[in-house]
């Protein structure tokens, strides 16, 4: 498929003007539907069931009874439109249904019709509508044009989080046999093989050995990449893209160097060789739990004392906020440390205490800006203080490179724009959407490139890194601009020297 070529970025400095919403611009954009085998592997019906409308409404009823967020969010919208211009997919496509409230209304219409008196009595006057074939099609299209990034929820006066609604809609679609190929296939691979990429244990062992050799050749130090080592102190759970995608793997090398230099014994697990949890994207607590339980099993099996997560946005959301509920209790871990921890917390602390030393000159010539990965920014935390998810990565970047530059304040911290590939959309069948959705971030990047001479874009999320590597060239940037947070650390860390 030839890649979509976007119109050039706005020539002015600043963020692009908000487009005027038009109907149907992205109506044809939809990801591939899952094959029966992919749905069945997750326990969903293989194909769209016959009585799908009835079953979908029934499933919505079940979800409403079990999830306060869904109920409250469906009720509370006043239609004020404060969220309307906050979604990167709306800003990048101009499609009216990509305004968060319009996206919500696709589901809210069905909720109104079946679960509220106003909808039952007034029908379309109250915005109610049946889940007919046309609406189901728009659900499939537009709930897969939401990366569940939660940016809209920051601005909504009721705190309505469209991500929750798009998760619920995807869960309902799965329950009637209308799954999305990319997500369901990947979850199937986790169950069958252990990770999203389908990398079997022997191949993983080979890869890690190769990395040990590479690092030895490059640095002269015997940095280990241990796999399935019983009794290690730390189990590192990281997105499988870290094992060979670029620049992810440079991040993995960075983690290994940090552990090496700090003298922490650690291991990866071939059973839980994936931090990502696509159960979140399809809104299925059961799938999320099944995937999370693999981490628990691996930690118990290997007898580790701490669990540490590598750079992955939504994985850290699931780990930080949900892990205890999904797969707890983690009382077998060392109670002196947060359960679980993020690698950036360890690195930042080691930098502060002098446990590792970084030499920014090793990254001479780099001017780095940071993309706050949205799941880290708006759905998790690092450190003990609210907002640590912003300060810790910045501390690390500043320690590792000669110059750090912030992007436009409306595009960082909790206002960060999604990369455009999160939430289960990182698939080639959605490439046009991904390129358009990245536009607001690219516009902000362009500004710091032109004004401050930024040379590199740093992120701490596997999906962001893959997405940016793919879409940067569409906007005239070099894909090599993309760096992992721990790549910067790995390049700057002083190995072997006394830490005094």
């Amino acid at each position: 498929m030839a890649d979509f070529v976007p119109p050039p970025l706005w020539p002015e400095i600043g963020l692009e003007p908000v487009p005027s919403p038009e109907d149907g611009l992205m109506a044809a954009c939809r990801p591939f539907v899952a094959a029966p085998a992919h749905n069945q592997a997750l326990g969903f019906p293989g194909e769209l069931v016959e009585d799908w409308e009835t079953r979908a409404v029934a499933r919505l009823g079940e979800l409403l009874a079990g999830n306060r967020a869904l109920r409250v969010y469906l009720d509370a919208c006043v239609g004020c439109g404060a969220c309307a211009d906050k979604c990167h997919f709306f800003l990048g496509t101009g499609d009216a249904n990509n305004m968060p409230v319009a996206r919500q209304n696709l589901l809210r219409a069905v909720y109104c019709r079946h679960f509220t008196p106003a909808g039952r009595l007034l029908g379309p006057l109250a915005g109610a509508g049946r889940l007919d074939r046309a609406r189901l099609d728009s659900w499939y299209g537009y709930f897969h044009q939401c990366s569940q990034c939660r940016r809209c929820s920051v601005f909504c006066p009721m705190g309505i989080d469209t991500a929750e609604l798009s998760m619920a809609a995807r869960e309902i679609m799965n329950s009637i046999g209308l799954g999305q190929k990319y997500c369901n296939e990947i979850i199937g691979k986790v169950y069958a093989i252990g990770n999203n990429l389908g990398l079997p244990p022997p191949a993983l062992a080979d890869t890690l050995e190769g990395l040990e050799e590479d690092v030895r050749d490059e640095s002269g130090h015997d940095v280990r990449f241990p796999l399935d080592v019983r009794g290690a102190e730390v189990l590192l759970v990281t997105p499988s893209a870290d094992f060979f995608a670029e620049p992810h793997v440079d991040g993995l090398i960075g983690y290994a160097k940090v552990f090496h230099q700090a003298g922490l014994s650690w291991t990866l697990s071939s059973y839980a060789s994936e931090a990502a949890n696509f159960g979140l994207f399809i809104g299925s607590v059961e799938q999320m739990r099944k995937i999370a339980l693999r981490i628990r099993a691996a930690a118990l099996d290997l007898g580790v004392k701490r669990i540490v997560f590598g750079e992955c946005g939504h994985a850290w959301r699931v780990a930080h906020a949900f892990l205890e509920e999904l797969a707890g209790p983690f009382d077998f871990l060392d109670p002196r440390y947060p359960r679980p921890q993020h690698i950036a917390e360890i690195t930042a602390d080691l930098i502060r205490t002098g446990g590792i030393r970084l030499d920014p000159d090793a990254n001479a010539g780099m001017v780095v800006t940071l993309h706050d990965s949205c799941n880290v920014a708006r759905a998790s935390r690092m450190g003990d203080e609210p907002g640590g998810q912003f300060t810790l990565p910045r501390e690390i970047v500043r320690a590792a490179v000669p110059r750090f530059v912030e992007m436009h304040p409306d595009t960082t911290h909790d206002r960060t724009f999604c990369c455009g590939g999160g939430g289960g959309l990182l698939t080639d069948d959605l490439i046009e959407l991904r390129i358009k959705g990245a536009r607001p971030r690219m516009q902000a990047l362009k500004q710091v490139v032109e004004q401050d001479g930024v040379t590199h874009l740093c992120a701490l999320c596997a999906i962001c890194k893959s997405q940016f590597t793919k879409v940067l060239p569409a906007y005239g940037f070099d894909r090599e601009m993309m760096v992992s947070l721990h790549q910067l650390v790995g390049q700057a860390i002083r190995l072997g020297t006394s830490s005094l």
Binding site: V78, F155, A321, Y337, D349
Partner: protein, 234 residues
């Protein structure tokens, strides 16, 4: 006394609908499980902080401030005006109003004007900005119209067709004693009361519930406190 009886019935039905409807909604929200913590971060790490966050949202609309300042202004005008107006109305239902209610009579009149100004701005915004027009449902205009009519009839009585306040108070006081007292027959007053009763009755089943829903909104009301063993790193 047929008109009085009808008005009494309307008010009792509306008040009961409000009380029952609101209670049912709140119980439903409170009882629906919220298994996963869904705070939009950065969020307070404790329950008290989270409650304060919700309180701030209810009183000051900080998220809206960050989103859209003209909208914040219109919303603030309307809600602040409404609060003043409601406080002012207490003197119609309390026989001997406390001093602060008396003191609020002047600001309450101003409140009526602020509220109407807010409504007009909200309505203009809904019709003039294409983005907002596109997401508006017929009922959104309906609520605006209803509120404008209630506010308009109220202002009309304040500034133009003064109504017999003493008679109104006597009627309402009578209701508490289950006693029908004659009600002043001004059309503006009757319209004002019937429309307000409709609004009150429909509140629990409409989007006007949003203030109560906000109390239960997981992205604002849940603390960011689930991670165990937080103390030291490294």
């Amino acid at each position: 006394m047929a008109a009085e009886l009808a008005m009494a019935a309307i008010l009792v039905v509306a008040a009961s609908a409000l009380l029952v409807g609101l209670t049912l909604r709140i119980v439903l929200y409170a009882r629906t499980p919220a298994p996963l913590p869904l705070a939009t971060t950065p969020a307070p790490t404790g329950r008290v902080g989270a409650a304060l966050r919700v309180g701030r949202e209810i009183v000051l609309f900080p998220s809206l401030w960050g989103a859209d300042k003209p909208l914040w202004l219109a919303a603030m005008l309307f809600h602040l005006g409404l609060a003043l107006v409601l406080a002012r109305h207490l003197r119609y239902v309390i026989e001997i109003p406390p001093a602060w209610v008396v003191a609020l009579q002047g600001p309450g009149q101003l409140g009526g004007i602020l509220m109407m100004a807010g409504l007009v701005l909200l309505g203009l915004r809904r019709t003039l900005i294409r983005r907002v027009r596109k997401i508006s449902r017929p009922t959104d205009y309906g609520w605006l119209l209803l509120l404008l009519l209630i506010g308009g009839s109220g202002l009309a009585m304040t500034y133009r067709w003064h109504t017999d306040i003493i008679g109104l108070k006597a009627f309402l006081a009578g209701l508490w004693r289950l006693d029908l007292v004659p009600l002043p027959g001004d059309p503006a007053l009757i319209a004002h009361m019937v429309l307000a009763a409709a609004l009150i009755a429909l509140l629990p089943v409409s989007k006007l519930l949003h203030g109560f829903a906000l109390v239960f909104s997981p992205s604002r009301a849940s603390p960011d406190s689930t991670r165990l063993g937080e103390r030291r790193h490294g």
